[in-house]
């Protein structure tokens, strides 16, 4: 496809898709299983790492499904009476397994009594039943309440999302209050693993000193970068179904559901814009019940501690960049608040209601002299143009990861050692958000 056709196609697509999105907003939603009854089984399997390795793991599976890391994301509605059953198909020496649901008042029956809750013995048959009422909306986690130091490390961790009463996929909120409204939502279960523990357990050694903990892999939703940026459910990662690549469009709100799934603290640093932390542990940061997130705080590095959860709302604005994100000159004709970029006085106040361009910067030229193609090393994420939606000439085979000419911002652990896969950079706890041009379809989600 030559440059001219690419441009025409892009413009035509944007126009059509903008019209389409007015009718049917394409919004990313967290993938998981919905309902009120979930039958889980603890099973073994292997988690793949991008360096070609694999880690022997334990995880929760849906009955009839494969072990997953993290376990199936359980999506329930506020007020629902939720039942989770657990059977244990792990090898006999693994011992009992259980589930705790922090933030919920759980009644456990069946199985055998454990230190924290009822446990399922490794007989593949005995079922423990956990019931609770999902009384409050929000982001929660579940994990094994049996020898947590070892079993959570082995992979027995998952996420729960409780949708607020009156939830609408057309106008979603995290907590019912307008202050928690969003367009797209993404889950980020953060964690890390010490490979020695997995090797030992795979060799039948269960007496492990977990105080001597030295993780070498770091994960988002059970995957290490760059696998984090693959789609949900890719067939070659059968035990790691959840990706964590975020997509959004200028001005739209992205709900980040962060969960501390490991043992360590990870400073999750999201480039592009600040986010507003609206909730912790499934409770809005509010001064009084019903007040909404009036105690929310703006942040760009979110540390969600192990077992805890954080909800934050991110929006990419492009505000005060000092240049026009859609380009300047006759070849980049566009308007902001109805004023052409080629007008003598293009700037105006506020944001354009359709393109979400920051109008005070409308018509301001890009302040960098772009080098010639022969002076560049290309990456798959460079569209050939610094302008949003502005595909430009690229050598053959380049730009394939950025078909809509969006902006990529890295979201990663700012403890940068955690951006490695067993000493190999880049990898680990890292993904990207793509700011797609207005009108770009955003489907599915993670």
């Amino acid at each position: 496809m030559n440059k001219a056709i690419a441009k025409r196609t892009a413009r035509w697509s944007i126009l059509v898709l903008m019209i389409l999105t007015w009718v049917l907003p394409a919004q990313a939603a967290v993938q998981g299983v919905t309902g009120t009854q979930f039958n889980l089984v603890a099973r073994e399997g292997h988690v793949s790492t991008p360096d070609g390795g694999s880690l022997y793991s334990w995880g929760y599976a849906l009955e009839g499904g494969l072990m997953q890391f993290p376990g199936p994301t359980l999506i329930v509605n506020q007020g629902a009476a939720v039942t989770v059953t657990l059977k244990n198909e792990l090898p006999q020496p693994a011992g009992n397994v259980s589930i705790v649901f922090p933030g919920h008042a759980v009644t456990a029956t069946g199985g055998v009594a454990g230190a924290m809750t009822q446990e399922a013995p490794p007989d593949g048959a005995t079922a423990v039943t956990y019931t609770f009422t999902a009384s409050n909306p929000g982001t929660y986690t579940y994990y094994s309440g049996t020898r947590v130091d070892l079993q959570a490390e082995m992979g027995l961790v998952g996420a729960i999302i409780v949708r607020p009463s009156g939830f609408s996929h057309m106008n979603p909120t995290a907590y019912g209050h307008a202050g928690s409204a969003y367009h797209h939502e993404y889950l980020f279960v953060l964690g890390e693993r010490d490979a020695r523990i997995h090797q030992a357990v795979a060799s039948g050694i269960y007496d492990i000193d977990t105080a001597d903990y030295f993780p070498v892999y770091w994960f988002i939703n059970g995957r290490c970068a760059p696998d984090t940026m693959l789609a949900d459910g890719v067939p070659w990662l059968p035990h790691q179904p959840y990706g964590s690549m975020a997509h959004t469009r200028p001005g739209e709100k992205v709900l980040l559901r962060l969960i501390g799934g490991g043992r360590d603290l990870h400073p999750f640093h999201h480039h592009g814009n600040n986010s507003l932390i609206i909730a912790r542990d499934g409770r809005l940061l509010e001064s009084a019940p019903g007040a909404g997130p009036d105690l929310a705080m703006s942040d760009f590095t979110i540390t969600v501690h192990p077992g805890g959860t954080v909800d934050a709302i991110f929006a990419w604005t492009g505000e005060k960049l000092g240049w026009d994100i859609y380009g300047t000159g006759p070849e980049h004709e566009h308007s902001c608040n109805g004023i052409s970029v080629n007008d003598a006085n293009p700037a105006s106040e506020g944001f354009d209601p359709v393109t979400h361009e920051y109008c005070p910067d409308h018509g301001k030229p890009f302040p960098v002299f772009l080098p010639e193609g022969q002076d560049l090393t290309f990456g798959g994420q460079w569209s050939g143009s610094p302008f949003l939606g502005g595909a430009d000439a690229l050598p053959p085979g380049q730009g394939g990861m950025n078909p809509n000419s969006g902006y990529f911002f890295m979201w990663h652990s700012h403890n940068e050692k955690e951006m490695t896969n067993f000493d190999i950079f880049p990898g680990g706890l890292m993904t990207h958000v793509v700011i797609e041009p207005p009108g770009t379809p955003i489907n599915g989600g993670h």
Binding site: V100, A105, M116, T117, G145, D209, H305, P306, G307
Partner: protein, 359 residues
Amino acid sequence: MMKKTLKISTYLVVLVGVVAAVAMGAAEAAEFRLRAEAFTITMPDGEAVAMWGFVLDTDGDFATAEGAATSPGPVLEVPVGDTALTIVLKNNLTTPISLVIPGQIAAMSPVFSVDDQGRSRVRSFAHETAPGAEGTYTWDNFKAGTFLYQSGTHPAVQVQMGLYGAVIKNTAQFQAYSDAATLYNWQAVLVLSEVDPLLHAAVAADDYGPGKGMTSTVDYAPKYFLYNGDPDPQVMNIGASAAAVGNKILVRLLNAGLESRVPLLNGLYMKQLSEDGNLLPYPRQQYSLILTAGKTMDVMLEPKAAGVVSFHDRRGYASAGSAGAGQILLTEGAPPTSPGFVGGGGGGGGGCFISTLVD
């Protein structure tokens, strides 16, 4: 709305006024006498680890025995009416020690050493008490809240060796802070800490320091994790009775170790009231907390139903050889018949501190 706020404010002013009047009438200095001594803990894996700790002298004579030292040391509760705190310290260790309370204002007299390059280096944040000697440490205007007392001398070593404990003060009877929302029926103090056995062995054998077998704490690797000094707690009953659903249990959490810990409660939310002895402007509803090294947090538990809630460190730290994996149960059973220390086990003593009932 405005009227309601005004009414509440007036009520509070009157209440605070009454408390202040009572406090002024009774104002005096609280004094505690602490002996610092070495002792040994037997860890769950059988290893005996040398510790340093404190024991409260209750009869005004350091020469008489009041039992073995513990780490953490005794919980010191400064009475509501007392504005000043004095601790008389008897040093039965073989090295100079001192006392500091982060978050409390005191006249500090640091002690300096001159190194081999002629540089003056601080060795102790407060004046030292020599081995065998007695020293006096005073805080003239002790602020209400939850605080750690600990050695201010070579703290990288001495705090790890066990020279720490909780010191608390209420603003009114059974009320932790100025806000009436901090009124409680029960309270518990939970001090988290850690032990690196190699460091303890080196210090006990006088093999720690320049030119010796261990020259710094840079290789710190804790292997044992203590809850009120207990390396392997199974059940820690903080005594909210089954009949006391609706009770308010204040739990004062303190981290005397070096690792960040995550106290996590299953089945109940905590209302976090404070941090570092400061009342939060708004309480936070959380089931987990990030309790970093040196930090204190006060949380209120309000049981909604009879039963058992479990409490554990979600960072997964568990003592080598322990069965409990750092789990503590708050069993809503019958309350103890008399206030005092309950729970505990292992070799650390201490247990869980229970205060008195309001009603």
